[in-house]
Point group: C2
Chain length 313, copies 2
């Protein structure tokens, strides 16, 4: 039974309030006049660890009894979920064991270690990730925390929408990226409860449109060899997330890698914001007219900012 309600998400918000940022909702008059509408950018790139993942991970740990996680927590991730769980474990004062594919870039490994986590490498396959994670649980007594298919994680991510609704009125739509579906599950639950006339639109890369395919088929369907520069959006939708998406998400649109790059560039040049590819996909959908902004007020979730520095003069 799905416990994900606005009340449940409000509790998550109280629980994590001291440990995560209420992120700003920024606007740009030049972008608005170019697209002939109003865009509100929810800046989760400014969140702790540089992405919304800090919210869900903190709620997942803070909602458990400390005895349950005293021997530590485990997850496998090469991305923001690793840093999110490492940060949350640091907040709770418990060990974090992160399983990362040995192909993970050094900077991500260092960032995760920077939050005090212990990193164990595995082969870059799901089977190896799961096997090494199980091994670590057995050895350490640590508890596995899923990066998205977990109601407490979903509730933590949903706090993004509670903030958006406090920060702006009369939204016609909210655009949210879909990877495993944790973020959009939480966000869509809040929006459909508190602002039912606001459309919830999911955004996926063309090369990894698993949620769209799954909705069309009525069952979770993996795409073979998903591929996109938006590495955070390659996961298959979670079994707990899928029914929430079926119920709450109005539609899903897809964007190409080129459109995502263009959006990253506009956010950099016009808004002076560093946004990673997965985080810029929502704005790409507006900029590439996959969703018309004309005369509308639309919030886009910029879900994270962890991208390589290639700047210079």
């Amino acid at each position: 039974m799905n416990p994900l309600t606005v009340e449940y998400i409000n509790l998550a918000r109280e629980r994590i309030a001291a440990h995560v940022h209420k992120t700003p909702l920024l606007t740009s008059s030049s972008i608005d006049s170019g697209l002939d509408g109003e865009v509100f950018f929810k800046c989760e790139n400014f969140q702790k660890v540089g992405a919304f993942k800090a919210r869900g991970a903190c709620n997942a740990l803070l909602s458990r009894q400390i005895e349950e996680i005293a021997r530590g927590v485990v997850t496998h991730s090469s991305g923001n979920a690793a840093q999110g769980l490492a940060y949350a474990a640091q907040v709770c004062g418990v060990p974090a064991y992160i399983v990362m594919p040995k192909t993970t870039t050094a900077v991500k490994v260092e960032a995760t270690k920077g939050y005090g986590a212990s990193v164990t490498f595995c082969e870059p396959t799901l089977a190896s990730r799961e096997e090494v994670s199980r091994q670590l649980q057995l050895e350490t007594g640590a508890v596995f925390v899923h990066p998205y298919n977990d109601y407490d994680v979903m509730a933590g991510q949903g706090t993004v929408a509670l903030e958006i609704l406090e920060q702006v009125d009369g939204l016609d739509a909210v655009l949210c990226p879909i990877g495993g579906g944790g973020l959009i599950s939480g966000i869509s639950t809040v929006i459909k409860s508190l602002s039912p006339n606001t459309e919830v639109i999911g955004v996926e890369p063309e090369g990894a449109a698993e949620a769209l395919l799954s909705l069309q088929r009525g069952e979770i369907t993996a795409v073979e060899g998903p591929k996109s520069i938006a590495e955070g959006l390659l996961s298959t939708v979670g079994t707990r997330c899928f029914p929430v998406i079926q119920q709450n998400v109005d539609r899903i649109v897809t964007v190409s890698d080129g459109e995502i790059r263009g959006a990253m560039r506009t956010l950099f040049e016009r808004m002076k914001l560093v946004v990673e590819a997965s985080g810029a996909a929502t704005f790409a959908a507006l900029e590439a007219q996959k969703v018309s902004l004309k005369g509308k007020r639309v919030a886009v979730v910029l879900s994270g900012g962890n991208t390589n520095f290639l700047g210079g003069e």
Copy 2:
């Protein structure tokens, strides 16, 4: 006689309030714990046109009689001052004529034209810039507006400090970049009047430390062939700015181009902020320990964010 007082700068603030942003003052707990102090980042990269120049230019035009500028305004600049004046002219509904060296990058030319300005090219020498500007004034009847050596421009830039003092208490120091000296003239006037115990520290590139040399010699002294990636900080200090700097600025420190690049990178990776080289020089002074942050509360002005997009995954 120098009219630059806090009252004068307060008037500027009222005048430009509807046309410029009150920019946020951001913090980063990871940067603070690394440097063992508290840094407050004044984000003028989020300002209209992407730099503080919008403030001074708007005040310079709005403080004049509309009859005086009805036939337009002229300046010469290859950088943010061009966009600032173009924007201010658009606000006032008067023509802007911008003289740019023919070596200016296309993106800067386009950005300036994007605010409705007419761009005229000149040779990349001060003599040619001035000659073409004079010619344009004669032809059009437009008024010349200096990018920094103008009390109304200086007053507009000083509004940055009025905001900082509203946004944070008990500052030990404010770090401000020095190019022609317009920004630090306005900022130091406000700080020394309203918070006299706060140190005002100027920051210059090692390869263009004209203000430092001028202070040491007691007269404005140009550096031959100033050179730095911080293109906005290569100008010689203005005759109206210099006495203000002599009176109000406690000290000047210099930073290398490598230190500036390092600061840009930290701001990108940790804070997800796009800051141009000239804008990152202040933080470079902290990060490179030219100014110790230990146990202190220091505001740094991130003066602009107009740098080339070289991002990607």
